[in-house]
Every structure is written in C-alpha cells, then in structure tokens.
C-alpha cells in the first residue's frame, strides 16, 4: 500500500488546534518538536509534535514493574509489546490545499484514522520561512512553551541543514514575541544552541 509509505501514526482524536495520534510502532514516535503532516481528503494539516506518551493500551490496566532488563523482559513476557502503545500530541500550525500553504489554522480538523507522516525538509523549510509557527506555539497554555518553541526551532534548523542564520532570526523573533517576559525569552534562546 503506497499510502502506508512513511506512515508514522494514525489520528485518534482531532480538533481545530490539536490532534492526537497512535504511533505506528511502540516506542517509535516522531521527535518532540518535529514537523508532521496529515493527508486528508480536504488537504494537508501541518503540526508540531508537542508531547509523547507510552502507556498501557487499556486505561483500566496500569503497567507494573517487572524488575528485569528490557531484553530479558521481552523474552519472558512477549505479550507486553501487544499491550502498550505510544501516542503523540500535535499542535496544528498550518495547512495546505491546492498547492498553497497557509500559516494559519485549517477550516476543518483532520479526520480520525487519517495517517500521519513526517514532513520532508522542503516542507519544513516552507512551513518555517514565516516564523508565524513560533507565535502559534507560544500561545499554548498547557505545554512547556519554552521547551516546545526551542525544540521546534532546533528541528527546523536541522531540516534546513543546520542553518545558523535561521536560528539567529528565530531567536530575534522570540525576543520580540516575549519582550514582556525576559526570563522566558532567555530560557528559549539558551535552548537554541
């Protein structure tokens, strides 16, 4: 199935501003702060990975401690890998339709069960040409904003082949955006190096 190529997760909860996905493989989520996309019938939703969680499949059953090294555990309790799942939470930063890319929220959230894949370096470059995504991420209230903003800038820089000029410009944008909160701005900038 060509659609499965590069699939790293499947959407299980979606709203206008965020979506949650189950990773295709346990313990193999996209990196925190990396750029991902969902291809839906109506277009492409772009987002930044804002959190990852691995837990028991069944919320009524909590994982317990076995007290053995991982390799031994998998030999002794091979069913465990079938009972846990990795989920990641994504903040929507833009969308694309009919060949154009927008740095604002999509008219509709992605559908449930749509596949999530990683953005290509070209897509990341296009998404981060405008530093609007920094503002979107900075507006979050329930995430460690300084960690998420700095991780997203680092991931964007990596996708751009270690672009120092981009990091400098992003740092300036951060300083401007958080001019009323010097400590927060500095904690983000410190995390960029």
């Amino acid at each position: 199935m060509s659609e499965m190529n590069g699939m790293i997760g499947e959407v299980v909860q979606a709203s206008t501003t965020r979506f949650r996905a189950i990773a295709a493989k346990v313990f193999e989520p996209p990196r925190f702060g990396s750029f991902v996309k969902v291809m839906s019938a109506g277009g492409r939703t772009y987002g930044v990975v804002a959190g990852v969680e691995t837990a028991s499949f069944d919320s009524a059953r909590r994982a317990m401690a076995f007290g053995m090294p991982w390799e031994q555990l998998i030999r002794e309790q091979p069913q465990l890998m079938e009972l846990i799942q990795t989920e990641f939470d994504t903040v929507v930063i833009g969308y694309g339709a009919e060949g154009s890319l927008h740095h604002f929220l999509p008219p509709y959230p992605p559908r449930l069960h749509d596949f999530v894949s990683a953005c290509s370096p070209t897509e990341v470059a296009a998404l981060t040409d405008s530093l609007e995504f920094v503002r979107t991420l900075a507006s979050l209230r329930d995430s460690p904003v300084h960690e998420l903003v700095s991780a997203a800038i680092r991931e964007a820089s990596l996708a751009r082949g270690g672009d120092d000029a981009f990091v400098s410009e992003a740092a300036r944008a951060v300083a401007e955006l958080f001019k009323d909160d010097y400590d927060l701005a500095m904690s983000i900038v410190r995390r960029l190096s």
Partner: protein, 404 residues
C-alpha cells in the same frame, strides 16, 4: 442507598467468630487427611479395589499414577508456544430492541525461547437466526438462555483452540480456562453422546473431543487449568479408605441411624476428614512446583467422552494450588505430561500466580458494560437507518435515566 453495611457488620462479626471456633476442628481433620494420604493411599491395589467397589453419592478419584513426588520437570526447550482461548457473551435481553446474542472469543498465541513474540486477538460472532434463538438443547427446543449461550461460547473456544493447535509450528501447550469436564451436561451422560449432531449440548461435546483429537495428532497437550479448585474427589476416595466397611455402600451406612440423612450426623468414621478439600490437602503435602500423582476422574459425564477420559492432578503453583485436567492421551504419555506440568507452572510464574496466556485471553474476550451498551447503540442506529421499529422496554429506559 443499596447495601446497608452498618446492618451487615454485626453479622460479619458473628461469621468471623464462628470461623474461629471451627478452625481447630478443621485442623484436626486436615491432620487426619494428611495421615491417610500418606498411609492408606500408598497401597494402590487396595485403593483401586476398595474405591472401585464403593457405592457412594460422591465423585471418587481413582489412582492412575503411584504415590510419590512429581517435581517440576524443569524443561528448557529451545522454543515453545502457549495457546489459549477464552470467551464472553452478550446474552439475549428481552429489554433490548433486538433478539440476538453475541459471543466474543479471545485468543492468545505466546512464543517463548528463540524468536519470542505474541499474537492477541478476539473474534465476535452475532447470533440472530431462529435456529440460534430457539435451538435444540438436550433434545428439547428452548429459547437461548444463559446456559445455551454459554454452551455456544464453549464450542467456539474449543473450536478455535483446536485450529490454533493445528497451526502450531513448534512444541506447544493448549490451555483451557477451567475444567474439561462438562459438569453441566452431567445429568445424562449416555444420552449426551446420542443427541442429534446439531444439538447445542452435543456440539459442545464434539468441539471438545475435536480439540482433544487435534492435540493428540499434533502432540500438543490440552490442559484445563482450574484456579481455586473446590473439588474433593481425592478426599472422597480417602473417606472410602477410612470407612471400615467393605464394600462401602453409603445407602446402607451402618453408622447412620435408620431414617436419618447420612449428612445430618457427623460422627461417622468418614467424618474424620469432613469438609476438607483436595486443594487444602495438597497445599499441605506438595512442595513448590510439585504436582500430585494423576487420578482418573469419576464424573459420570466422562462416559460420553469415549477414549478421551479426563484425568487430573493438583499443582503447587506458588500462590495457590491449581487443578490440572488432561485428556487420556496426555495422562498416558510421560513426555506430554512433563510438558503440561512444566508449561502450566511456567505460565503461572510468569503471570505472578495465574497463567499469562489465560489472563490475556480473558482480557481479549471480555465484554464490559460499556461495550455492551455500545453494541446495542450500534444495533439501534443501524435499525433506525434501515427503517426497523426500535422499542426499548420501560425497564430499560428507566435504567438509562433513573427518576430522582
């Protein structure tokens, strides 16, 4: 307010006091049972003769293996597989919109040793045709009640386990949750085998025998794992050994006055081991990981099993004494019995007291209340879409929104 705990509290205190007084008596009877197990059971010929000739109303265990120690075989296969199935059901409800029942069978394939892995799955089947809702059960037409749905579920579990056994590509053990003895069909064992092939009772028996056949052909022991067993077949046989009569005939018990039920008095010789269960006896006589010798079960229903009679033993699985039941092809093969003993023990160890495969099969099969509600919502929405009449009973509507 539902259960008034304040009112039940004093009754709990009285129950606790009663237990304390009977504890000493129980300890003395247990002592006697342990002594008889060590002495009376040692002479297998005498036990076979006396138990074989006894006429009792209880089930009697007959010795299959000599007394002695049967320790953990401590096998170390390069790779092996454990198979298990379990089921649950949504029964027919008069209060719901559609007459139907659902059986959900969970299955587990666990591979150990080289190339470890696991496959967990469940398969639901919906039954709604008239022949399912009004089947023949024990040669009479009945509407599908809990017993019938249970029998259909058992049939599916055995059938799927047989398929998994046939597909196994390495040494394997097939675990059944609970007994291999179809106690519920016990009333008429000879009649059971003569029922029509589409009789629900007969189908369950046939599915179990098919499972035994599959296990025998593939060299895979089928093991019924009974947790917290309540049986006292072995103790019943010890009672026969304690009784001075020969042959023992409880209907003519000389220690019971005429016109008195034998159970009404507790001074008969056999009452020396009264109300001790097999599990209690073996809790005090087995070492960690040991199993007891095998016994033949005397359950009358086994007459319908043909050459696949069921034997059993008790296993000290650590946290509890479990009862293992095996068909004759396993009981008569030391190699398969070693595998059954070791795998059951290994599973209980990995599962911290209860076999992992059975626990996971149960988790795969279970239909929770929320699942049941979701199922009936699914039925309702489909019915509405297709223009069928949807009527819930008044009781069901009330349950979904009680008056306050």
């Amino acid at each position: 307010m539902t259960l008034r705990l304040d009112q039940v509290y004093e009754q709990v205190a009285a129950m606790s006091a009663a237990l304390a007084t009977s504890r000493d008596e129980l300890a003395a009877r247990l002592e006697r049972a342990i002594t008889e197990w060590g002495s009376a059971w040692a002479d297998s010929d005498r036990v076979n003769g006396k138990v074989g000739a006894a006429k009792t109303s209880w089930l009697l265990a007959r010795p299959l293996e000599p007394p002695g120690r049967y320790p953990d075989p401590a096998l170390a296969p390069e790779r092996w597989r454990v198979l298990a199935t379990d089921g649950s059901q949504i029964e027919v409800s008069r209060h719901e919109i559609a007459s139907c029942f659902l059986v959900n069978v969970g299955e587990v394939v666990l591979d150990y040793g080289a190339e470890p892995g696991a496959r967990l799955a469940s398969t639901p089947s919906l039954y709604f045709e008239p022949e399912h809702l009004y089947p023949i059960y024990g040669d009479e037409e009945r509407s599908a009640d809990g017993a019938i749905v249970g029998a259909v579920r058992d049939t599916q579990e055995f059938h799927r386990l047989a398929e998994l056994a046939r597909a196994a590509d390495r040494p394997a053990v097939a675990l059944v949750d609970g007994t291999l003895i179809l106690w519920r069909d016990e009333t008429n064992p000879r009649g059971l085998a003569n029922l029509a092939p589409d009789d629900v009772k007969r189908r369950r028996l046939d599915a179990m025998l098919e499972l035994f056949e599959a296990g025998e052909q593939t060299g895979i022991p089928v093991v019924g794992y009974v947790s917290s067993p309540g049986g006292s077949d072995v103790l019943n046989s010890l009672k026969v050994m304690i009784c001075p009569e020969h042959p023992v005939d409880c209907d003519r018990c000389p220690f019971t006055p005429p016109d008195v039920r034998p159970t009404a008095i507790t001074t008969k010789p056999c009452d020396a081991v009264l109300r001790i269960s097999d599990a209690t006896l073996f809790r005090h006589t087995l070492g960690a990981g040991d199993r007891s010798p095998l016994f033949w079960s005397g359950a009358p229903v086994l007459d319908a099993y043909g050459r696949h009679r069921v034997a059993f033993c008790y296993l000290d699985a650590g946290d509890e004494i479990a009862r293992l039941e095996v068909p004759a092809y396993v009981a008569s093969s030391p190699e398969l019995m070693h595998l059954a003993h070791w795998a059951a023990l290994d599973q209980a160890r990995r599962g911290k007291g209860y076999p992992v495969a059975l626990a996971e099969a149960h988790e795969q099969a279970i239909v929770r209340w929320a699942d049941r509600e979701a199922f009936f919502r699914l039925v309702a929405s489909r019915f509405v879409r297709e223009g069928h009449r949807v009527v819930l009973s008044a009781k069901q509507l009330r349950k979904r929104g009680a008056l306050v």
